[in-house]
Each structure stands twice: as C-alpha cells, then as structure tokens.
Subunit: 363 residues, 2 copies
Amino acid sequence: MTVPNDTSTPQTPNPKPQTPFVCPIPKQQYENIVLAHGAGGRLMHNLIDQVFAKGFGNPLLETDHDSAVLEHNGVRLCFTTDSYVVNPIFFPGGDIGTLAVCGTVNDLAMSGARPLYLSAGFILEEGLPITTLQRIVQSMQATAKEVGVAVVTGDTKVVERGKADGLFINTAGIGICEKDLKIAPRQVREGDVLLLNGDIGRHGMAIMALREGLRFETTIRSDVAPLWGMVEALLDAGIEIHCLRDLTRGGLASALNEIAKTAGVRIAIDERSIPVRDDVNGACEMLGLDPLQVANEGRLVAFVKSEDADRALEIMRGHPLGEQAARIGQVTAGASPLVTMNTVFGAARIVDMLSGDPLPRIC
Amino acid sequence: MTVPNDTSTPQTPNPKPQTPFVCPIPKQQYENIVLAHGAGGRLMHNLIDQVFAKGFGNPLLETDHDSAVLEHNGVRLCFTTDSYVVNPIFFPGGDIGTLAVCGTVNDLAMSGARPLYLSAGFILEEGLPITTLQRIVQSMQATAKEVGVAVVTGDTKVVERGKADGLFINTAGIGICEKDLKIAPRQVREGDVLLLNGDIGRHGMAIMALREGLRFETTIRSDVAPLWGMVEALLDAGIEIHCLRDLTRGGLASALNEIAKTAGVRIAIDERSIPVRDDVNGACEMLGLDPLQVANEGRLVAFVKSEDADRALEIMRGHPLGEQAARIGQVTAGASPLVTMNTVFGAARIVDMLSGDPLPRIC
C-alpha cells in the first residue's frame, strides 16, 4: 500500500489554506460529440444537464443519483441503466459481461436497494464469434448468480461489420428498498465520515495496461465486483448511511465532487489514508494519470454518521471486498462546495473533477 | 386497400389442404454472428434459445413473451428492454427516438401493463452533432408525454468515430398490470378470433424506400405509434383478451408463427381481410418482399374470445390507431402448430417465418 504522488495538479503554496483558490475553467461549447462527453467528467455532466435533463425534464430524473426511486402501493423500487462499451471486452479480472452485471447491480446497491432483476440488451457486430458471445453470457450469469439477481428480459440487435465494435451491452436493473432509508447525495451533512472499501485505480489501469501493452512484474487485475453484499451487511447492522457512491468513470475525484456539489458541502480527505497499489501507482505515473481520477468497478465510498464510523469500518473490513477498508476523510463546514486533500507533504490541495478523461471506453 | 400477391412462397396444389406439407429446413450452424441473427426470424430465435435462454436459464426469462412479469407485495410489474439501431435515424413518420419510446411502451402494453417508467441508455459515436441528439431527445420526450411515461434514469457512453453508427439507444420499461389479467401466448385457445388494428408493412417499407432511394407518388410513412391507449380501451371495456402481439421485426408472419408454436395451436388467416396500402404493396413487389414479413411499429394482433370479437373490433375502430381494424382469422384445431392463409385465389398456403430478414436495422 503506497500513496500516490500528485503528478497532475500544482499544490497550493499555503500548507493548510482555509479558502483555497479555485481556477475558473472556461465553458467550452462543442457542436459535436467528443469522447470526453462519455468520460464521467465535467463535459459529460454538461451534456447531461443541457441535453438530457432539459429534454426529459421531470422530478424523477435525478441526474445526481445512481438510480431513480419509484413508489407503488408501498413498494419502493429502484430503477437504473448503464450501457457497456469497454475495449477490450476481456481483461484481467473480468470481461464486459462481468461489468454489465456488476455496474448495474452496484448502482442499485448505492441507493440501498436489493438488486433483483436485470434486463440485457445486446448490440452485436456482424462477424462476432458466437463462442465469444457465449463466454460473455456465462460471465454475466455467473455474476448474476453470485449476487442473487436474475436476467429476466432481453433483446438482440445485429449491425453490419464496422458499425459497432464487437459487442455493446446495456443492462437495466430493478431493486427493492426493503428498509425505509434515505440514502442520497442530498442526505450528506457536516461531520459525516467517509469510508472507502479498498485500494483505488485498479480497473482503469488494468484496461489501460492491456491497451497500451504495458508490462509490470504483476498483472494489474480489475477490481470489478458486486457491492450489494457489503452494503447489505452495513444496513443489517443499522449503520446510519447518508450516501453511497461507487467510484466508476472519473474515479474518487469525480464522485466526491459530484456529491459535494449536490449536497452543498465541503469534503476533506487525507491522501495517506487512501490505499493505492504500487503497480497501479507506477502505471499512473508512467501515463501521467492521477489514481484519484481513475475508474474502479468494485469500490465505494460510504458517508456515515460519525458515531457509527468505527463500527461501519469494522463491518466493511470483515467483508471479502473490504479487507483494506479505510476512513479517508470527513464532511466539513465551508461556504461553497469543494473537495480538498491533505497530501503526504502536509499541504492541502484541491481535488478537482477532470473536464474529460484520458481513459475512454473503460466500462 | 389492396391485397398482396404471394411472390415468395409456392402455393400448395390442393386448394384447402387439411394437413399441409411443411418443408423441413436444415438447421444451419453459424460460427459467427450474421445480420440475420438480429432480424426477428428463425435464426434469431435459434440464437436466443441456444445462447441466451440456455445461458441465463431461469423461469422468468420467457423468451416467447414481450416482457417479464414480476410480482412484489401484490404489485404486478412488467419489465422489458429493446435496443434501437435503425438506419437512417430519421425517416418519414418518426425517428430513432420515437421508435425507442414506442417500441418499449408497446412491449409493455402487449402484456396488458400500463407503461410508467423508461430508462434510456445512449451509445454515441464521436462526431455526432449535438443538435441531432437534441432532436432525438425531443422526439423521445414528445412521445413519452403522449403515452404518459417518464424517462427516469439514463446513461451516456461515447465510442470512437467508426466504432458505432451515429447513435444507438436502449430503453428499458416498467409497467404495472392494474388488472388481474393473463395475457400471454400460452393463453391462446381454439376458437379465438384474431383482430388486426390496421394496414401492415409500412414501417419496414418506409425505411427501405428511403435507404434504397425508391420514389413513389406518395411518401410511405412509418406507422410508428404507441399502442397502450387502444389496449387500455379494450381492457376497460372488459374484452377477454388472451394474447396481444405487436408486429415488429419479422412482421405478421413471424408474430403468428411464434404464437402458434408457443400455444401449440393452428392459426388460419384470410388474405382478403388484411389491409395493405397500394404503395406498400408496390414497393414490396419491387423488392421481392412479402408484406406479411415486413416490420410494423404501430400494429398489433389481438387474440380475443370469439364472443367478444365484434365488440372489440368496434372499440378498435373507434380509436385513431384502429380505423382500419379488421378481423383477419381464427385459431383452429389441428395436430401440430401451423399458420395458414386463404389466399385471394381461394387456395390455402402456409405462412412461414423467414430464416433471416432482408431488411436489417429497421428498428
């Protein structure tokens, strides 16, 4: 477990500034879609705000939350969707099928919902070997079984050679909130403690290492995993969770910035407490990336009531996906939403959301 | 209103055979995905059976029905999904956005469920004009409003130029079965009357005419429309509906063959009663297609109890999408599942499902 060096953002001169300076970024207008519009950063959020939220405008479309919560006859449903376009489709630790189940299951879990049903829509490129499709379906089914969800409905489309890239998968998921919980970014409040369930940056770097042909002494394996089991353990123990967020596109940095903005709070994290593996750190340095901004597929941050933090950490560490769980920071007072990090050098720096993302198609 | 000439299938010598001869089609083994695997015909059904149904094997994955029915605390939910890859994305009568809402809403309606919520997953190709995306989102929202569904959750992915074709959309939908109904292919029984809500073949031919640059005196417009309103009217009137099916990929021929096979019944239809527009008929003849096998996006067949048929027909004709509604056939006795048609010449012919489909990417 090592800590990342800050390779991308200049540190502020004052070691612990009270009101750090935020550099204003000019809003760029794009006429056409660019890769960064799908990368989880600021450009994607602009597109969602300006095209989707405006176009579909309705109170249920909470663009700042992982899934929609719908009530019917006292049943609280969660509903979410994700498309998966990862390239390459097989990678150390998983494949597009594992991802298509975990990603959607995790979005449901982040609302405190037990994942129950999945749909699966396949867009196949002409020429895709049927054995490849079979392997992907097997991965999906194995992961679904592990979590206890069932793929109950599906669709298949085929497009001409060169009009897609192997295969794309969409899954939508339905979960049930069994407890009367309010787990959402707006529930975050001053004093909440941030718990992280393990080392960050592995999924993104596993894909990039493969794509760029980087070799290390050990193979970086994706952390892709379904997180419902750990969330269920926390809920069963009665931990007061205010917000949960899985750290996918845009990594820890994007997740915390989104939540700070929605909740209108400041978040202070401590670099020393954030686990990053040596090989991930090395790969990040080589590619000029910040592990805080690299995608994960089996990592979450829980915002819990400070009195419950120790007990929650113990529960997380008792779960196979949380052995390295750590207390990484706290929600603090402050006038405007901001995420800051106390670095290993004792300075504080602003943790910003990227505009785009140097890692396209990692999920 | 004209009737199609049978251009593709040889007629049987005996005018009204009791046990028509079915030509055995050798099962072709494919190693790689071909376009026909997504075309709604026999090859797609083989792929679904052999890869998806086998891989995801669970009792809820009813591959012979448009959506899955899930029960929770007395609430009966329907859940369905479709991806949309239509090419071109704009066509007379609609666009990929209209299609993405209608297609999924119609799948829910075919289970007798009131469509309530949609998810929307976008896969965008780098370079897509943002104004195009905005137009599509506007179409989706206008259609959603018309039906009374809300797009409540979504996702955006972007892939490199040349790795998708403009944009692909997936929608999944949740509906509620408000009445205690059993509307499914297995409910079809001898004596049921088949009602069709209008002329067939328009959607597929609208796309093909555009793609092939065919010009007629009038523009063939797609029939794309949300069918829930008409279904609701039938249910509210207490019509005993045994099965509903929208006639998308593979057209009327595929829909009836699927239902005959699932229900284990014979279906006899009458060519004279099936409305086909002159221009659609002409375009079909020019391209060597059978209107029975061409896709629609606003057409359904209802299998109703024979005593309710006249009343149901009246209700359908009173709806804007059913002015041309017609009684097109009946479920009959017979040893093995089969669909036959009394042609305009007085002969009976077998109506078969295509192996693939000469019209790729029409939805």
